[in-house]
């Protein structure tokens, strides 16, 4: 395992009195695809939001490229190259597709941003076609693509994806996973949080299974896929 680009140690996150995350540690090697899976309320999204600086953890240390970033606010992390694609996509519906993409380059110079937007249009021709439409008029799948594309404009070193397949038709889910695979092939490190554990593990190098705020299983993804305990608890035994 090469040096981790991101490492999380002893993370604890509370909402009021509710402990959403009790004790989570994981490492993400450079260039890998790591997935966090688990049932509802296991704390996956809270972990991701704490890592992105959107939530202040109660305890624990988050290191990004060797620097302690535990107390960094979200905008500083984005600038440093840690970018999230949030659950529910969070596109700006009343702005156009092009405007949404422009916002992705908030911390980049104008020329770098425009170059990146052109690059993204090449990868997602459908967004180029619809660049002048209001983002709210896109279908669910297109909105998910826009959310991913918008994050790419920020030139992330590590991309965090939260439930990218939620609420999408099976056909579109396939497409989303293909895009994720392409992104990681360009060298970007990816952290994927997914409800669809089987799909996520099939795509990932390493997996961490979260259960009530703690890591219950971890290891190379293909091993987890074959682990009977994991299968029974999370993947369903039909």
């Amino acid at each position: 395992m090469s040096d981790p680009i991101l490492s999380v140690t002893g993370l604890q996150v509370n909402y009021g009195r509710v402990e959403a995350v009790r004790d989570v540690s994981f490492e993400v090697p450079v260039g890998s695809l790591v997935t966090l899976v688990g049932a509802n309320g296991a704390g996956k999204t809270s972990v991701l939001n704490a890592v992105s600086g959107l939530l202040r953890p109660r305890q624990g240390v988050i290191t990004f490229e060797g620097t302690d970033v535990t107390k960094w606010p979200a905008h500083r992390l984005v600038k440093a190259g840690l970018v999230q694609v949030p659950e529910g996509r969070e596109i700006l519906g009343t702005l156009t597709v092009a405007e949404n993409l422009t916002l992705g380059g908030w911390h980049r110079s104008n020329s770098a941003m425009h170059a990146k937007v052109a690059e993204v249009y090449e990868r997602f021709p459908v967004l180029f076609e619809r660049r002048k439409l209001h983002a709210g008029a896109l279908s669910g799948g297109e909105q998910q693509m826009l959310a991913i594309a918008r994050a790419l404009i920020a030139e992330p070193k590590i991309l965090l994806l939260d439930e990218p397949s939620m609420g999408l038709a099976p056909k579109i889910v396939d497409e989303v996973f293909r895009v994720i695979e392409e992104i990681r092939q360009t060298g970007t490190t990816v952290v994927l949080v997914e409800q669809n554990a089987r799909r996520a593990l099939a795509a990932a190098d390493y997996g961490y299974v979260l259960e009530t705020g703690e890591v219950s299983h971890s290891g190379p993804a293909h091993e987890l896929l074959a682990d009977e305990k994991v299968i029974e608890a999370y993947l369903g035994l039909d």
């Binding site: 279908s139 056909k171 369903g236």
Partner: protein
């Protein structure tokens, strides 16, 4: 000693009554600043009718004034409510503020009010009368808080749309809270005028309205005692400051301002948030002897929904085109299709949230027209959940389900006012019915938790329990398994089958195709607002158009055909499994074939 403070004691009571008139609208999620305007109308008009001698020799003049003032306040609130009740939030606040100011300017320009010079009143109110009035008002709100009416107000405050789909006639209830608040404001106006013996319209200004609102919010709206606490705190504060010798003109308002800021920033529930409360509506009651007998559901197989050519277009764009459909009692009907295919629009039409633009429909005897109200359909027996969860977040799980029982429970406010035994019995029955639904979806342990604190999957289950609490004939579930894993989805599927076995017709939208194939009796597939397939799960799984439009395949174009074949085979496999009711097989390998055909390549 008492005499020295008598006017302070009276003012605490009067300020609390004003705060109750704000409380009455705040508990239903509305913000009205018209309250002092209504009070002023009541005060000045009462001067026209209050006699100097008891009426018929025994009805005291003040009683006449109070009754008249409350009527004026309620009536004026009703008239004001007619145009403004549809406004929300800040807009409602500003409209009512404008009304208050208009009343003030109007009264100043009238001769019978003596204009800005002000009017004299008889001194009829002292500490005794003021506190008796306050106690009556507080008692009324105390008894309201646990009644069905009180729960309906809370539901509207938390989520209007969800409240509508529980069968609550939201505009009517919002108006009711407006009128109640108006009556209390009228009471305040009459009492204040006959306490201070003099009133001019300028006293009933914007500043006075803001003071009343501040009192209510500082006291808190989570508990009926809030307005009294707020009034006592804010009235005593200057007295305490005077007593300890802080008297410079500016120090007092500074300290008051700082304290107000501290309360609002650090005590989210206001002062009443400090009081630990024992809420009876947090405990389950699973004693079957309290379960009332409910009316029977329609006979299995009888037609509940019939749609003919039903469609909806938004400015020329057809969200749903011409749907013909019948749904019978006891069947599970699935609705699948790509995002934006019109599934949610269709169920919104069936539940009365979206009026159809073409075609006709009849749901449980209620015709679907442009003017069909969602609460009417809910009262007829339609219940639903939402794609974007809509719970009453600050209410407990059990309270959520109690609101769900609105349709089949009776109002208890009057009985509660007089502590009739039947009130207790009705409440126990309501709690017992709600508890049974919570237990049924597996949330018995979490009855006391606030709905907003539950995990995503639990919130989905709670929404189903809330829908079931209305004893529906038709249950509509919009993506109930979103965010659930295979295990959770399997138990949801079981629950749906058992509901259908009870005779409920269930209409489900869901992307989890595997679950749908295993759960539904019939499946309708929509694409671009059109029905592209409709039939039994086994037919749907083999339909090439469905595979093309919805299930599709990953990979490049040349893979499409092969993948479709593969997908149809694996889907068929799933269907066969269900038909054979043979749960034990090599699940790990087959489990996600239905959704991820390309992995088997």
């Amino acid at each position: 000693m008492i005499a020295e403070y008598s006017s302070l004691i009276t003012l605490i009571a009067l300020t609390a009554i004003l705060a109750y008139s704000f409380y009455a609208v705040l508990i239903a999620g509305q913000l009205s600043l018209a309250q002092v305007g209504l009070a002023s109308l009541a005060a000045f008009t009462s001067a026209l009718v209050v006699p100097s001698e008891p009426l018929f020799g025994f009805i005291p003049p003040l009683v006449i004034g109070i009754v008249f003032g409350m009527f004026v306040g309620a009536f004026a609130a009703f008239i004001l409510g007619l145009p403004v009740i549809r406004l929300r939030g800040v807009f409602l606040a500003i409209a009512t503020l404008a009304f208050g100011e208009m009343v003030r300017i109007f009264l100043i320009n009238q001769t019978w009010t003596n204009g800005a010079q002000g009017l004299s009143f008889a001194k009829l109110v002292g500490p005794g009368v003021a506190w008796i009035a306050l106690i009556v008002v507080a008692y009324w709100f105390w008894r309201l808080s646990g009644s069905r009416l009180g729960r309906a107000f809370a539901a509207i405050r938390e989520d209007e749309l969800a409240a509508t789909t529980m069968g609550i006639d939201v505009p009517r209830y919002r108006m009711a809270s407006f009128v109640i608040a108006g009556a209390v404001a009228g009471l305040y106006g009459v009492l204040l005028a006959h306490f201070s013996r003099f009133a001019d319209p300028n006293e009933f200004s914007f500043t006075a309205a803001v003071d009343g609102l501040v009192t209510a919010v500082v006291g808190g709206v989570t508990l009926f005692i809030g307005p009294v606490l707020g009034s006592a705190f804010l009235s005593l504060l200057p007295e305490v400051q005077r007593a300890i010798g802080i008297d410079a003109g500016w120090i007092r308002p500074t300290i008051s301002g700082v304290l107000l800021l501290v309360v609002i920033l650090f005590l989210p529930g206001g002062l009443s948030g400090l009081i630990p409360v024992r809420k009876s509506a947090k405990r389950l009651n699973v004693d079957p002897s309290f379960q009332p007998t409910l009316p029977a559901l329609p006979a299995v197989g009888s037609e509940l929904v019939s749609l003919s050519g039903l469609g909806k277009s938004y400015g020329g764009v057809h969200a749903v085109q011409s749907v013909d459909l019948t749904v019978n009692a006891g069947e599970v009907l699935g609705l699948i299709g790509p995002n934006g295919a019109g599934k949610t629009t269709l169920v919104n039409m069936v539940t009365g949230l979206t009026p159809p633009t073409t075609g006709t429909g009849n749901v449980l005897g209620v015709p679907l027209t442009a003017s069909t109200k969602a609460h009417r359909l809910a009262q007829a027996g339609v219940a639903r959940t939402f794609q974007q969860i809509k719970l009453f977040n600050r209410l407990s799980a059990l309270e959520n389900v109690l609101v769900g029982g609105y349709r089949i429970t009776q109002d208890t406010l009057l009985r509660r006012l007089f502590f009739l035994p039947s009130a207790r019995r009705l409440e126990r029955e309501a709690v017992a019915m709600a508890s049974a639904q919570l237990v049924r979806v597996g949330l018995g342990e979490k009855a006391a938790n606030a709905a907003g604190d539950l995990s995503y999957g639990d919130q989905r289950r709670l929404e189903i329990a809330r829908a079931l609490a209305s004893h529906p004939s038709l249950l509509v579930l919009d993506e109930p398994a979103a965010g659930m894993n295979h295990v959770e989805a399997a138990s949801l599927s079981e629950l749906i089958r058992s509901l259908a076995a009870d005779g409920i017709a269930v209409l489900v939208i869901e992307h989890n195709v595997r679950m749908m194939l295993a759960t539904c009796d019939r499946i309708m597939v929509l694409n671009f607002g059109e029905i592209i397939a409709f039939g039994e799960p086994s037919e749907i799984a083999r339909d090439p158009r469905v595979l093309e439009a919805y299930l599709g395949s990953a990979g490049s174009d040349e893979d499409v055909e092969a993948a479709s074949v593969l997908a149809s085979e694996t889907l068929a496999h799933v269907v066969d499994d269900r038909a054979a009711e043979h749960p034990e097989h090599d699940g790990a390998a087959a489990a996600d074939d239905a959704t991820t055909p390309e992995e088997n390549r």
